[in-house]
C-alpha cells in the first residue's frame, strides 16, 4: 500500500514536467509578446523590455533557463505585467482564497449530494426519489453563472439578506460556496443513487438483511461503502471542474482568488504568471487524482493496482 502511494507520488514528476513543457511550448509558439499590446511603447523600449526577459534568446536556451529557474532557484519568475511582484507572491496571496472557496464547496457538495442520493435509491420510485432526482437534475442543468446572478438578484438586491459581492465574513461566503457546490452536489447525488441501486441488489446485501440487520445498518455500514465508489472516482474530475467553475464564481462575486489572474494573464500574455498558475492547477489536480486512486483501493480491495 505505502509502496503504491510512493510510486503514485513519484509518477507525478514526469507529469508535471510534461505540463511545464506543454505550457512553455504553447506560450512561446503563440504569436505576439507580452509587451506588444501597449501601443504607446516605442520600439526601442519594447526591444529593451523583451531583452530584459530574455525573449530574444534561442528558444531552447529560454526553455533550459526557465526549467533551471523553477528547478534550481525554486522561483516562478517575476510577473511581466505587475512589475516588482513575483509570481509566487501573487499565487501565495490568492491561492488560499481559492482553496477556501474550493474546500467549503467540496464539503457542501458532499453533504448535500450523498444524503440526497441515498434517499433516491432507498426510496426508489416514490415521490421522495422523484423530488431528489429532479433537484439533482436542476442542479446539473442550471449553470453556475446563471444561478449566481439570479440568486444575487433575489437574495441580495431585493431581499437584502446577503451581501452582493466581496469576500470578508461568512455571510459573504454563503452564496459563492453554495453556487460552487451545487452542480457538484447534483452529480454526487446521481452517482450515489446509481451506485446504491446497483449495490443493494447484490448478494451480500441480501445476506446482511437475512441475518436480521436493521435497514439503517445495512444501508450505512454495508451498502454505502460500495455505493460511494463511483463518487470517489468522480472526485478527481469533479475537483477539477470546481477549480474551473471557481473562475466564474470568483469573477461574479469579486473574490480575490487565483482565477482572475489566470484570465487576466492569458489576455495579457503574462508568460510567467500563466505558467505559474497552470502549474499550480496541475499540482492540485495530480494530488487530487492520486488521493482518489488511493481512496479507491482503500474502499474496494477488489481493484488491483498493477498499473
Amino acid at each position: 500500500m505505502s509502496r503504491f502511494i510512493l510510486r503514485r507520488l513519484f509518477s507525478l514528476v514526469p507529469t508535471l514536467f510534461l505540463v511545464l513543457t506543454v505550457v512553455f511550448v504553447m506560450l512561446r509558439l503563440a504569436p505576439g509578446s507580452p509587451f506588444d499590446q501597449e501601443r504607446s511603447v516605442p520600439p526601442e523600449q519594447l526591444a529593451a523590455m523583451e531583452e530584459r526577459y530574455h525573449l530574444h534568446d534561442p528558444i531552447l536556451k529560454q526553455y533550459g533557463n526557465w526549467l533551471l529557474m523553477i528547478g534550481r532557484d525554486h522561483t516562478l519568475g517575476p510577473s511581466m505585467k505587475y512589475p516588482g511582484r513575483s509570481v509566487e507572491e501573487i499565487i501565495g496571496l490568492t491561492l488560499p482564497e481559492s482553496m477556501k472557496l474550493g474546500f467549503w464547496g467540496l464539503i457542501v457538495a458532499l453533504a448535500m449530494g450523498i444524503p440526497l442520493g441515498i434517499v433516491g435509491a432507498v426510496r426508489q420510485n416514490t415521490w421522495k426519489d422523484s423530488v431528489a432526482m429532479a433537484a439533482a437534475m436542476l442542479g446539473i442543468s442550471v449553470p453556475r453563472f446563471v444561478l449566481a446572478p439570479l440568486l444575487v438578484l433575489v437574495l441580495s438586491l431585493k431581499l437584502y439578506w446577503l451581501p452582493v459581492a466581496r469576500w470578508e465574513s461568512w455571510r459573504h461566503m454563503v452564496l459563492p460556496v453554495f453556487c460552487t457546490a451545487l452542480p457538484m452536489a447534483a452529480y454526487i447525488a446521481r452517482l450515489t443513487r446509481a451506485g446504491m441501486l446497483e449495490v443493494i441488489r447484490s448478494d451480500f446485501i441480501r445476506t446482511a438483511r437475512a441475518k436480521g440487520l436493521s435497514e439503517r445498518v445495512v444501508i450505512v455500514r454495508h451498502a454505502l461503502r460500495g455505493a460511494l465508489l463511483p463518487v470517489v472516482s468522480f472526485l478527481g474530475p469533479g475537483f477539477a471542474g470546481m477549480l474551473v467553475g471557481s473562475l466564474v464564481i470568483e469573477r461574479i462575486f469579486d473574490i480575490p482568488g487565483m482565477g482572475r489572474y489566470l484570465v487576466e494573464g492569458v489576455q495579457n500574455r503574462d508568460y510567467n504568471l500563466v505558467a505559474g498558475v497552470v502549474l499550480v492547477y496541475a499540482v492540485l489536480l495530480s494530488v487530487a487524482n492520486a488521493a482518489v486512486d488511493v481512496a479507491y483501493r482503500f474502499l474496494d480491495p477488489r481493484v488491483e493496482l498493477d498499473t
Binding site: L12, P14, T15, L16, L18, V19, V22, M26, L27, L29, A30, P31, G32, M137, L138, I140, S141, V142, P143, F145, V146, P149, L150, V152, L153, L157, L191, A194, G195, L197, E198, V199, R201, S202, D203, L229, P230, G236, P237, A240, L243, V244, G245, L247, V248, R251, I252, L262, V266, R269, V274, V278, Y281, A282, L285, S286, N289, D300, R302, T307
Partner: protein, 337 residues
C-alpha cells in the same frame, strides 16, 4: 459505475446477438426495439426529446424568417422590455433578443453535437482498445489518459483559444484554405469569428474524451472476463467481432448515458468560455455570451439574463433527461424493474 459490476448477477449476455437468427425474427424483441419501447413509455424523456427537436428546428428556421437580424442594432430604440414586436425584449443596442437567442442556439447546439461526436469517436476507440488488449497496450494508453487528466484541460482550451484563434497562426491559413473552396473572399475578416468558433469546437472535442475512454475501458475490463465472452472466443469469434458485437453492445448503456451527458456538458463549457469572454465573440451570439452581457445590467434589464439563462438551462435539462431515459431504456442491468 464501471468497475464494480456484480459478478454474481446474471451476465447481461447480449440478447439479440446470442439468440439464433430465426428466434430473433419471431421474437422481434432485439435490444433496440425493446429499448425503443421502454423509451417511449418514459414521458419525461419523450417530452425532452420533442423539445430538443423543436428547439433545433426553431434555431435553424427562425433566423431566416425573423423580421430582425441577430446583429441589427437600433441604438435609438435601446433596451426595451418584452413586447409584441420583440417578445423577449431588446438589448441595450436595440437588438432583438429572440433573434439573437435563435442564432446563438445554432452555435450552442452545434458546439454540443460536434464536440461530443469528436469526443465519442476518440474515447470509445481508445478505451475499447485499452481494455480489450490489456497488458502493455492498456498501460501505455491509460498512462497517456492519466497524464492528460492531470493537465487542467479547460485551462488549456483557454490558452489555445486565446493564443491561436487569431489571424496570425497556421490554423487560420488552413481555415482560409478550406473555406476558400466555397467562397472567393476567404480572407474577409467577417469569417474570423467563424474560425474562432470552429477552433473552440475542435478544442472542446479534443479534450473531453478522457472520461469516455475510462468508462469504456472499465466496462470492457469487467465484461471481458465473463463467461459469454469466453464462450464466443471458444467458438472462434475474432477480436473485432468480440469487441464490436459482444463487448460494446453490453457496455452501451454507460456509453450512451455518458455521451448524452457530454452534449450538455460541452454546451455548458462553451457558454462558460463565452461568459468569461474567451469563447464566442460579438457580434455573433451564443447563450453564454448573452448571459454574460445580461448580468452586466442585471438590476436594470433582468430579462436579458433571464431568457438566455432559461433557454440554456432548459436545453441542458432536456438533454440530461433524455440521457437518463436512454439509460433506463438501454442498460440491461436495470431491466428487472
Amino acid at each position: 459505475m464501471s468497475e464494480e459490476v456484480e459478478a454474481t448477477e446474471t451476465p447481461p449476455s447480449s440478447p439479440a446477438k446470442a439468440s439464433p437468427p430465426e428466434a430473433d425474427a419471431t421474437k422481434g424483441a432485439s435490444l433496440w426495439t425493446d429499448a425503443w419501447r421502454r423509451l417511449r413509455k418514459n414521458r419525461v424523456a419523450v417530452v425532452s426529446g420533442v423539445f430538443i427537436i423543436f428547439l433545433t428546428l426553431f434555431c435553424i428556421i427562425w433566423p431566416e424568417v425573423s423580421p430582425f437580424r441577430y446583429d441589427d442594432a437600433n441604438i435609438a430604440l435601446g433596451a426595451t422590455s418584452p413586447s409584441w414586436t420583440h417578445p423577449f425584449g431588446t438589448d441595450d443596442l436595440g437588438r432583438d433578443l429572440l433573434a439573437r437567442l435563435a442564432f446563438g442556439g445554432r452555435i450552442s447546439l452545434a458546439v454540443g453535437i460536434v464536440a461530443t461526436f469528436i469526443s465519442f469517436a476518440i474515447g470509445v476507440t481508445w478505451g475499447g482498445v485499452a481494455g480489450y488488449f490489456g497488458g502493455r497496450i492498456d498501460a501505455a494508453l491509460m498512462r497517456i489518459v492519466d497524464v492528460l487528466y492531470t493537465i487542467p484541460l479547460l485551462v488549456l482550451v483557454i490558452l489555445v483559444k486565446a493564443f491561436f484563434a487569431n489571424d496570425k497562426t497556421i490554423f487560420y491559413r488552413w481555415f482560409v484554405w478550406s473555406i476558400g473552396l466555397f467562397t472567393d473572399h476567404a480572407k474577409d475578416p467577417k469569417y474570423l469569428p467563424l474560425f474562432q468558433i470552429v477552433f473552440v469546437f475542435a478544442a472542446l472535442g479534443g479534450v473531453s474524451w478522457l472520461t469516455m475512454a475510462r468508462i469504456v475501458r472499465g466496462q470492457v475490463l469487467s465484461l471481458k472476463s465473463q463467461q459469454f465472452i469466453e464462450a464466443a472466443r471458444s467458438i472462434g469469434v475474432g477480436d473485432a467481432g468480440i469487441i464490436f458485437r459482444h463487448l460494446l453492445p453490453n457496455a452501451l448503456g454507460p456509453i450512451i448515458v455518458y455521451t448524452t451527458l457530454t452534449i450538455p456538458s460541452v454546451m455548458l463549457t462553451e457558454a462558460f468560455l463565452s461568459f468569461l469572454g474567451l469563447g464566442t465573440e460579438e457580434p455573433l451570439s451564443s447563450w453564454g455570451l448573452l448571459v454574460a452581457n445580461g448580468t452586466e445590467s442585471l438590476d436594470l434589464y433582468p430579462w436579458l439574463t433571464f431568457f438566455p439563462g432559461l433557454m440554456l438551462a432548459l436545453t441542458l435539462l432536456c438533454f440530461n433527461f433524455l440521457g437518463d431515459g436512454l439509460r433506463d431504456a438501454l442498460d440491461p442491468r436495470v431491466r428487472k424493474d
